[in-house]
């Protein structure tokens, strides 16, 4: 059942749509050993920074290294937790405020596992994956986002 595929890119050009997420959930309904799914979605905030409003984030990445890191996080999560499935998608390019830029989806027979696994994976992505975000303001000026 474990769909540990060989390394593949987790990057998608532009925002991750709600249809894509819904469809991804739908595809798991044939996997009847799953009892619990946990999904994390990162959404671009229209932050107000010194009176200027963020209208979008432009994501870039050191893609080869990032895919390698995503792969390591994936392997390590499957080793630590009894997961049936795990999927990660991250946007590259422009994602507007309100749109989704990160989609992490874990599934397991039992709920305790998915809570632990999801938080582990999301924190590892934030800490270890070389992705960069340029916050574009409504006046087209920019600043560089830093994870907190």
């Amino acid at each position: 059942m474990k769909d540990k595929k060989p390394m593949k890119s987790v990057f998608k050009e532009g925002a991750i749509t709600s249809e894509f997420i819904g469809n991804s959930i739908y595809k798991h309904q044939t996997k009847t050993s799953i009892g619990a799914h946990n999904i994390f979605l990162g959404q671009v905030r229209a932050d107000d920074i010194d009176g200027k409003i963020v209208s979008a984030i432009e994501y870039t990445a050191y893609e080869d290294m990032a895919n390698q890191k995503f792969h390591e996080i994936r392997e390590s999560a499957f080793e630590k937790f009894d997961l049936t499935c795990m999927h990660i998608y991250h946007s590259l390019g422009t994602v507007k405020a309100g749109e989704i830029c990160l989609f992490v989806f874990v599934s397991s027979p039992r709920r305790k596992v998915v809570f632990e696994a999801l938080e582990y994976i999301v924190e590892a992505i934030k800490a270890d994956v070389p992705v960069f975000g340029k916050e574009i303001f409504e006046d087209e000026s920019h600043q560089w986002k830093v994870n907190s």
Partner: protein
């Protein structure tokens, strides 16, 4: 460079340097290939600081062949990347 001896000159290598995120605001390019005659990461950085004055004021990590390294690591790889703070998700 013309003052270097020949045997040093032969040890020089071509390194591709990749710049990401806010560092590209300084370098105005995402990638360049340099001829490098030193041994350690800190020597490469000194070269880059001479080229880009404000680079030194920025917070970044260095990756060699996609693995993070420190300043005292020997340069062995062809690809060095300068990575500012991550902002994934």
């Amino acid at each position: 460079m013309s003052t270097h001896k020949l045997n040093i000159k032969l040890l020089k290598m071509n390194i591709t340097i990749k710049y990401f995120g806010q560092l590209t605001d300084i370098t105005q390019l995402e990638e360049e290939t340099l001829e490098f005659g030193g041994t350690y990461v800190y020597e490469l950085l000194e070269t880059l600081y001479r080229k880009y004055n404000t680079l030194k004021t920025k917070d970044f990590q260095v990756a060699q062949n996609q693995e993070l390294v420190n300043e005292n690591t020997k340069i062995t790889g062809q690809e060095i990347a300068l990575l500012p703070p991550f902002a994934g998700g």
